[in-house]
Amino acid sequence: MSKRNVQLTSETVVPASRRHVAVTVVTALLSVLAVNVGALAFVRNVPLNRGYWLVEQKWAKLEDSREAADWLFLGDSSCNQGLRPDVWKQATGEDAQNLCTIGEMIVTGDAWMLERHVERHGPPRKGAVLVHVYDVWHRPASPALRGSLLAHVPLPWGFWERLSPPLGLNPVERLGVAAGKYAPLYADNASLAVVALRGVAFEPPRFALDGSGYMAWHKANPEAVRADVEQHVNFVNNVRFKASAENRDALARIRALAEQHRFHVYVATSPIAEQLPRLATWRRYKASIDAWQRKVVEGSTYVHLVQRTPVTFRPEEMENADHLTHEAAARYTTTLAKSVLEARTKLAPAPDVTEASTSE
């Protein structure tokens, strides 16, 4: 421990004036700002995050639409790549728009979309189909939703309080929304890190929607399905179902919209990996959701629960435990369309919803 054999590095504090420090700090902040502006242009042109991109695209599609859709598909990512408007048309003869986004938007996002559609064009002419994976119904509004996801909805600032059910954000969460809109260095850091790490080898992911809003997925990933199933098993073994307040209010809002504007809403079970419905714990969890949903829609003429029996798929037909490949989506769509048509035939003749809406 004696002091020998060394060439120790030390610190030399150089003289600095107030101006020196100010120039340093201002240059540092300006350079961060400049990089942020560059990153903003980059992320607006090159979609990096599938979730953000889907929310942005589907909302843009809704906002750009010029007339009411026949059918409106609302829900999460299982619906986004599971419900094909082209197949629906073959089965029903009617057009559909797939506006399904991601699970993190929860049912609140669907209620908001429906409200915007009604505001702009009146209700969907034939009805709306709502599809969520079973594990979405218990989810509250996550920090991601209360920040960067809201930032990707192309509506004026504060829309989350204007649309119903409103989502109250605290000042920090509002900052998060602002960061999601204008500070990609903070909000899109994970995606930007991937770009930087790959460097010149980076290839932008290719996401694409067809004209009806549906996103086709062609590559099955059986290993990911199996891993995902494990997580679902863990989930149903450890969580007892209780609908989140946000989803409860959103479903009530959807019911109110349907009844006020006299259009039908069909709430369906999402596609799911075949292993899960074989589990008693999964069936129990699902039965709890069914019971809760029955209670919420009880007495409604316009909200219907359809396809209560899950349509199941093999791992070779899926991207993960609830995301289908393009071919598998055809089977799910056909099955669901059949269920909806069956439910519709049992209904009293539907009023002309366009007239009903405009007459109010």
Binding site: V13, S31, A196
Partner: protein
Amino acid sequence: MLFNSRTFLAFFAIVLPAYLALTGRRRAQNVLLLLASLVFYGFWDYRFLGLLALSSGVDFITAQKIRDTDSPRRKKLFLVVSLVMNLAVLGFFKYANFFAASTVALLGFVGVTVPPLALSIALPVGISFYTFQAMSYCIDVYRGDLEPTRSPLDYALFIAFFPHLVAGPIQRPVVLLPQMAKDRTIAWSEVNAGLFLIVWGYLKKVVIADNMARIANPIFDGWQSQAGLDIVVGALAFTFQIYGDFSGYSDIARGLSKLMGFELLLNFRLPYFALNPTDFWLRWHVSLSTWLRDYLYIPLGGNRGSQLATYRNLFMTMLLGGLWHGAAWNFVLWGAYHGGLLVAYRLLDRDPEHEDPWSGRFSTARILAKMLLMFAFTVVGWVIFRSRSAGQAFGMLARMGFTTSSATRDLFGLFGFFVTPLVAMQIWQYRAKDLLVLTRARPWLCGLAYGAMLVAILVFGVRDSVEFIYFQF
């Protein structure tokens, strides 16, 4: 409260302006800093504020008693009271379970079966740091190296000052106490240096250390199924993780202190450029190694006796230094390993480099080879340090080799991506013999460099407030 949390940023954004607003009113500033420090510590667990107060109170009073008495016997008695109290607190909170479990294991080894005993004791954050600091205060007063302060406020702040409270650098009373007792003037040159230390410290922690942890953790946790080269990457990643983590913390602590007009001890002097074990301990965790030198190695006899006694003293000091890091045998083994290295170095290196190895007497190849060798020894030490058992440490070292897996290339790529900027900066610092070399650049260039670091922190920084490794020590 962690330096790398938003809570801390908000906390400091309130404390600093309030502190600066009180410029010229030293007592009020000290009251503010003490309250802020208690909030900072209490944020983790307010129940241990009492322990902090007890430790500070006893040492403050015993130091007064040591000064007030003329009897050498009574002076010694008061010193013993202080040391026993500090070591008892440390022993109870940090080592009780370790010694109980080790005793049970030892008895089991000789055939006596005793049911395992485990007390549910929470380890107070930073206890090893503030206890050592408190002990050095009483020892310095006893030795006559320091006049005890009459101000309980100054003393309490010396112990609890939030930048160094939970993970050092361990402050010497002769250095920090006088700063508590005099009016502070904040020079722009110190602010300039402080800003660099803060930005560089955060970069080392959240970008380098936390990303290295993502490589090292799975490899250490699943070492039995890892390929030889992957284990090498894991060991290297931990080597940079622990350096980035601890030196990053020290830099942030020192930078924050500079913004408030305080100067804390330098804790790291480019340790991975060390040429030999002695050199390493003059560069790594300097505040601990010099504490051990002054309060343990020299009192044990230092190098004043026979060669054998010097070796014994070195080894004992390092063994206890290892144990200081934690109540586990891997830390003891790590201490013994470094003790062994120091002894071996003294025995074997008959032509050591003198003050400046680059004076021309030694070839560049020799210096670089020694640097590389010492770095390899250091990496081996970190494998021992990070392993959960001696079996894991030896197992990992034995498995190191050139076998690869499908992940090897990516692991190396990731490791290189994060470590290269650090190494480049350190080569610059080493060549310039100045850790603050960047601050010599023109201010706008400096600003661009800080901007780049801030961008890296925003984009690559791990956001989930990963705890600093040295909090547990």
